[in-house]
């Protein structure tokens, strides 16, 4: 992964003074390079997904045609011809890439709609869920990590260790069931599924994130409803990443606390919170956001399970349905989406390095 760029120079190192123009040039070259590797990765993912899905023994015709049609050779042949399954594999792959260039991801074998249309419908729901969960995890995870590092080996640290290890050990589908039972079924505090109440219509489409759209249009009842629906699946999804980020924040804070310059900051009489936040947390953030990028990937994994339980109409459910029905174009579409998210997340992480520590050069 791109963690290599995170090599933190020693804090005492003299600052490199560089002209502004050169810097902008660096950024452009960096972005172009990233675009290049991104395209290579996308093509690689399509190849892997293609080989995996097409070389396996499963028979898409059997999975998608009804009981009666499967006995009819003509129907099977027509199905295979319609989806191009009767051609040699390399030809199928080249055709897929060619269509991809024109923004055509093929037709889903279950929904009989273009895969792109399906994705446009489901992607915003998943993005909203995952963004909510990652923000919650960053706030709670970094917070707990700081406390644990400050109270190293004393009871708050031990307690937080149990919480964070518990978080990464909990089966997400099980904690979803428990939360659903308690907070929806028993206590009725939160809605149990969907993005809005059944009587409510979606807010005007801008971003597709219901909370954001509703807020932008000042539809506050709709906003509250969307937020309440987001809470249960979002928090359940965050359980694992909170644990992950807590453990990592603690470890990297402790590593940095051992440095002489932290002792120097304390010795010159800086208040403890300044030492922790400015001299320890800031350099630690560089490695924390690297992990946050990885955490975002594991959130996407979690959506498959969580969306299924809370009937959240997102890519996770779509991925599950497509995989079970061997809907090859849809599986390929989901893979592309996942790869795209991966590329964007890594890019954001790399750009954030520069914001947190201006001495880190993009390369």
């Amino acid at each position: 992964m791109s963690a290599t760029t995170a090599a933190v120079p020693a804090p005492e190192a003299p600052e490199r003074v560089r002209p502004r123009g050169r810097r902008r040039h660096d950024l452009r070259r960096f972005l172009l390079q990233r675009l290049g590797t991104g395209v290579v990765l996308l093509v690689g993912i399509t190849l892997v997904a293609f080989v995996l899905t097409h070389l396996v023994p499963g028979d898409p015709a059997a999975a998608n045609l009804g009981q009666r049609a499967i006995g009819d050779p003509a129907a099977v042949a027509a199905f295979n011809h319609q989806y191009g399954l009767d051609r040699p594999l390399p030809v199928q792959y080249v055709l897929y890439l060619k269509n991809l260039l024109h923004g055509n991801l093929g037709i889903s074998e279950q929904s009989h709609r273009p895969v792109l249309t399906d994705l446009e419908e489901y992607v915003p729901a998943t993005i909203e869920l995952a963004l909510f969960a990652i923000v919650v995890s960053l706030v709670i995870g970094i917070g707990l990590g700081i406390v644990a590092a400050m109270y190293r080996d004393r009871w708050p640290d031990q307690l937080i260790r149990v919480i964070s290890l518990g978080g990464v050990s909990m089966p997400v589908f099980w904690i979803a069931l428990v939360a659903f039972y308690l907070l929806f079924f028993k206590l009725g505090w939160l809605p149990g599924g969907g993005r809005l109440d059944p009587t409510q219509g979606a807010p005007h489409h801008l971003t597709g994130l219901f909370t954001v759209d509703a807020a932008l249009h000042g539809q506050w009842t709709l906003f509250w409803s969307a937020l309440r629906h987001l809470l249960l699946p979002g928090l359940v999804l965050a359980v694992y990443t909170v644990g992950m980020l807590t453990r990592f924040t603690r470890a990297s804070m402790l590593e940095i606390m051992g440095n002489d310059y932290v002792r120097a900051a304390r010795l010159k009489g800086l208040p403890e919170h300044v030492v922790i936040l400015r001299h320890v947390l800031r350099p630690a953030l560089v490695s924390i956001i690297t992990v946050a990028g990885v955490a975002f990937g594991s959130l996407l994994s979690g959506t498959v399970l969580v969306e299924n339980i809370f009937s959240w109409p997102g890519v996770g459910q779509y991925a599950y349905r497509s995989a079970v029905n061997l809907d090859l174009p849809a599986i390929m579409g989901v893979s592309l989406f996942v790869a795209l998210v991966y590329i964007v997340v890594n890019l954001v992480v790399d750009l954030l390095y520069g914001v947190i520590d201006p001495r880190i050069r993009l390369s």
Partner: protein, 283 residues
């Protein structure tokens, strides 16, 4: 030298209550798995009781929608999860170590191709790839295990590759080469024992995740098939009867205790044996 330093920094094993607790839990589950037919009060597949009865003296964990004893099913579930977790981690470790060792030792285009493939698999969110593999091979427990292996090997490949790369210029390897040892011999007799520690730490940290992924696939119906008493599949039955909380709660608790115990052990092992390598690879 390095060993002495890390020992001095980290508390010894007997001062680690969490790790000891983890060991005790795994040992307890292992005993349950071996002696399940003797311990379990009922046949886990017998459908002869009142359906969906709450926990009682006769059925500690209640009964499920087919009138089976949940307590007995949870005990028998250990016979599936524990051995499969160990098998799949060992297989993933061996495959990953071979690929990583070859990549690191030969370098060049071999290294490039193998590591790009590893990166691709790594970039993919585990369950989505596993889902595709398991669905394509067919919904069976065996195929779910294969799917988890497919997802898990790259972290071992990366770790072993970096260990081999750093060992390649080490004095003992150079000495062995000068004595006329072949590349393969150096890889297996000289480098392998030195790489074993970090790889085992990674495996201890990874096994909990493997359990979660495998039971997740079963939860989705792509792993163990009914009527097998598998914990993930049992939690799925719980979602269909969510107002009868005992159906899903107890199998989930079983998964939680196993994964938590493995993570406690892995955490302590990492502190004791190898503070740096394991973290660099598996964050």
């Amino acid at each position: 030298m390095k060993r002495i330093r890390t020992r001095a920094l980290a508390p010894p094993p007997w001062r680690r209550p969490l790790a000891l607790g983890g060991l005790a839990v795994i040992a307890a589950w292992a005993v349950i798995a071996i002696f399940a037919p003797l311990i379990a009060p009922q046949n886990p597949l017998a459908q002869k009781f009142t359906i969906l009865a709450g926990p009682s003296a006769a059925h500690w964990f209640g009964t499920d929608e087919l009138g089976r004893d949940v307590f007995s099913r949870v005990l028998f579930g250990a016979r599936i999860t524990l051995p499969l977790a160990v098998i799949l981690i060992v297989v993933a470790m061996v495959i990953g170590a071979i690929i990583g060792g070859v990549a690191g030792f030969f370098g060049g285009w071999v290294d490039n191709i193998l590591m790009r493939v590893a990166d691709l698999v790594f970039a993919f969110p585990g369950i989505i790839l596993a889902l595709a593999v398991a669905a394509a091979l067919g919904a069976q427990l065996r195929n779910a295990v294969i799917a988890v292996v497919v997802v898990s090997w790259p972290s071992y490949a990366r770790l072993v590759r970096s260990l081999v790369l750093s060992a390649r210029s080490a004095q003992y390897v150079v000495a062995s080469r000068l004595l006329g040892a072949s590349g393969v011999r150096v890889l297996f007799t000289d480098i392998r024992p030195n790489a074993a520690g970090p790889v085992l730490v990674l495996a201890a940290l990874d096994i909990g995740n493997a359990v979660l992924l495998l039971s997740g696939l079963s939860f989705l119906g792509l792993g163990a098939q009914p009527p097998t008493a598998e914990w993930g599949a049992m939690v799925a039955e719980g979602t269909q009867n969510f107002n009868d909380w005992w159906v899903g709660l107890f199998p989930g608790l079983a998964i939680l205790t196993v994964v938590l115990a493995f993570n406690f052990i892995g955490d302590a092992l990492r502190d004791m044996l190898d503070p740096r390598t394991a973290r660099a690879v598996r964050l």
